[in-house]
């Protein structure tokens, strides 16, 4: 079943400090933290599920400048 996705992000995995703030901040709740994968500094980091709206709440709340946010010209059906 595909999900309408209006936006997407690029995640700077190495910049992340695993604080989890983006998870709660995301209105459609499409960010989920890794459970086992960590970056080179030992922090877990977020992964993006389909359904992003490009609202950039994650970028605004992130203390470590992890996110680059894009909005698709045409919404995509993903998944």
């Amino acid at each position: 079943m595909s999900t309408l996705t209006r936006g997407t992000v690029v995640i700077d995995v190495e910049a992340c400090k695993g604080c989890d703030l983006c998870i709660d901040a995301c209105p459609p709740r499409v960010l989920v933290m890794t459970k086992e994968h960590v970056n080179t500094r030992g922090y877990r980091y977020p992964m993006l599920l389909p359904g992003c709206t490009g609202c950039k709440a994650c970028a605004q709340i992130c203390p470590d400048f992890v996110f680059q946010v894009y909005k698709y010209e045409t919404p995509q059906e993903i998944g």
Binding site: G7, Y43, C55, P63, Y70, Y72
Partner: protein, 270 residues
Amino acid sequence: MLIEREGLQVIDTDRPPAEPARLVDDFTPELVDVGTHGLCPGCGEPIAVRAAVEAIAELGLTQRTIAVFGIGCYTAFSNNLDVEVLQALHGRAPSLATGVKRARPDTAVITVQGDGDMVNEGLQEVLHTAARGESVTCVMLNNGVFGETGGHLTATTVLGQRTKNTLDGRDAREHGYPILLADLIAQLEGAAYVARCSVNDAGHVARTKRHLTRALETQMQGAGFSFVEILTMCPTGWFIDTLEAPAYLESTVAAVHIPGVVKDVLASRG
């Protein structure tokens, strides 16, 4: 564009989208030189600093701004912002800012100070600067702890708030009562714009940026002293998990240091 990781179908977020898309927010604001910094996970201060430099850039003040930094965890940013920076001693930023603005009235002068810096060490400086109506913008990053020295209480720590020396919550009998600085400053006639906001969710961050913008506009119109108090998370100083900090801020700190526009003389003039 989907890849599998930990049993989930996730978007490949290591590269920009192949489909046509426009960039709506870049990693760092153009005025921050570094992506990684040494502040704690979940710290609210970088969020506030980001909002400040974005406001400066959006108002077109990049080449007219001098930022005067106090001493605290946020001092790390005095070293990697692409605006001119004057580093002050603990508590002393408002007097330096006064000297800068009087000598160079065309610049946009903003201070960045923590609550320990501004309300403990430097209380007289910020009050006098506000009373004089100096056309500078003082910004307080308020987390109710001395972050850099280990998390002890400050003059703004609210009753019941957990810090290193108030692990059971601040008790008035032992440590007295917090100073609500924004409310104090608003009573001074020299203060033209006084606002309080927070960075514990994306909506509040957006509002913080609006207050900062308004404060800088007040300064550039020569209307008087402007002050923005930004409540920030300090999970380390509060001894809580990073995920709990936004809610703790809301229920503990923001319940006393109440967000909102406390004073806006330009708005009331219409």
